[in-house]
């Protein structure tokens, strides 16, 4: 269903477009303890790999912009802030950092888990959208049939799992080096990468991922999301997993 400008107007709250979104500072630390000028590294926010309206068949452009430019940006900014003065941890690649959270000082461990997780999850999320949906193709299609009972059952199980996440979280498909797939969920910004398990694909079921267009109707969002899944990209990730080169 197209997101009409009329509907968008209806959805604007008291603060409206000119209030909360446009007047907010460029970098908003939605859940950080204190907004400070964030360092520029070691981690960085890549631009969306497509226009913000590329996923209109499931996700409106405004949601894409806020999600990437505010939510994801906040995770990156907070992560870099937490890593200041932590030379050993700051030198780790994002997946290695997530695998080695136990080595982080306790005072910043939860913050790293939340923000490194948020950075990894959203980085994956943007990559696997921007497609035309439809039935999966290639090797991934075969793996879905073999490991997840076929595309129809998989999609139904994936949506059901996403619906049962209480509060904020993610539904993922993990992949082993041997190419075996499994369906899992995680709360908040946790990721299978924390357990050394690679993520093939996943959907964000935090309310911010769908509230402007779908409000309380998470099930409708989960259903529509398949319209923008990028199976070519997911096949690339699948091949990388089997080659041992898939990271985030």
């Amino acid at each position: 269903m197209p997101f009409t400008s009329n509907r968008r107007t209806l959805l604007l709250g008291a603060a409206g477009l000119s209030g909360a979104v446009m007047a907010a500072p460029r970098r908003v630390f939605a859940q950080a303890a204190a907004p400070t000028a964030a360092p520029t590294g070691p981690h960085s926010l890549a631009p969306l790999p497509y226009a913000a309206n590329a996923n209109e068949a499931a996700i409106d452009a405004m949601t894409m912009e806020i999600h990437h430019d505010r939510h994801h940006a906040a995770y990156v900014g907070n992560l870099n802030t937490l890593l200041q003065g932590q030379d050993a941890l700051a030198g780790l690649a994002l997946d290695d950092l997530l695998l080695n959270l136990s080595r982080a000082p306790e005072a910043i461990r939860t913050g790293l888990r939340n923000n490194a997780g948020g950075h990894a999850n959203h980085t994956m999320f943007w990559q696997i959208m921007g497609g035309q949906g439809g039935a999966p193709s290639g090797e991934v299609a075969e793996a879905i049939t073999r490991d997840l009972g076929g595309f129809d059952k998989f999609r139904q199980d994936f949506n059901g799992a996403g619906l049962r996440v209480f509060g904020s979280g993610w539904v993922f498909v993990t992949v082993t080096n041997a190419g075996q797939l499994a369906l899992v969920t995680r709360p908040n910004q946790d990721t299978p990468l924390m357990d050394g398990v690679r993520v093939l694909m996943g959907n964000d079921v935090w309310e911010h991922a769908y509230y402007l267009r779908y409000q309380n109707r998470r099930a409708d969002y989960l259903n529509a999301w398949w319209n923008v899944v990028n199976w070519a990209k997911i096949n690339e990730r699948y091949a990388a997993a089997k080659a041992g080169t898939l990271r985030i």
Binding site: L11, G13, A30, N188
Partner: protein, 212 residues
């Protein structure tokens, strides 16, 4: 008996001038809260809840840990939202607190400004979905705390909530988008019904009267 969705003490448009628009209240009360009530009623028989008060169910589910989560998610959220609707008002906010509440906040929490800052921090740092609370502890002192998802101070055993702010994104996304700190500032400065909070302080917490 069954749990019921209590009506709001004001119209769904009554808080719009105070930063909570009509659509937020319609969805939050009519869809989100209602869904928790429906789901909780669906658990009464299978979980053996019949005859128990909402407050008892919440406390018992909290003590049960992971096994209690399916009940706590729905029962906690029912209790939390019943309280939430009561502690907001179209004439809420401001810095003129009723005398007894003001004195209690001064003595236990270092004054209104310190309380507001602590409450806002609790809400901002509750990662993911959850609630920020002002509670009355067993020792008679006030404290600020936070809980995740559907939990609350009754389920954690920390104390009795007399003020709560919902920090699930559905509570503020239409009005404030990602900017949770502004939602919490607005809640504290324009929405809190301080007279109701004082009443809850004097009564030792909320009795919802809701029974399975």
């Amino acid at each position: 008996m069954a749990f019921t969705l209590p009506s709001l003490g004001y119209s769904t448009s009554a808080l719009a001038a105070n930063g909570m628009c009509q659509e937020t209240l319609e969805l939050h009360h009519g869809k989100h809260h209602n869904a928790y009530v429906t789901a909780l009623n669906g658990l009464i028989e299978s979980k053996g809840l019949a005859g128990k008060s909402l407050e008892t169910i919440v406390a018992e589910a909290g003590k049960a840990g992971a096994d209690g989560l399916p009940v706590l998610n729905q029962a906690g959220q029912h209790f939390n939202h019943v309280l939430f609707w009561q502690v907001m008002s179209p004439t809420g906010g401001g810095d003129k607190l009723p005398a007894k509440l003001a004195a209690k906040i001064d003595s236990d929490l270092g004054g209104l400004a310190a309380f507001k800052e602590a409450f806002k921090q609790a809400g901002v740092t509750q990662f993911g979905s959850g609630w920020a609370w002002l509670i009355l502890k067993a020792d008679g002192k006030l404290a600020v705390t936070k809980t995740a998802n559907g939990a609350n101070p009754l389920s954690t055993g920390e104390g009795t909530p007399i003020l709560g702010a919902d920090v699930w994104e559905h509570a503020y996304y239409l009005d404030f988008r990602n900017v949770r700190p502004n939602y919490l500032d607005n809640f504290l400065n324009k929405l809190v019904a301080w007279d109701v909070v004082e009443e809850l302080l004097e009564k030792g917490g909320l009795s919802t009267g809701q029974v399975a």
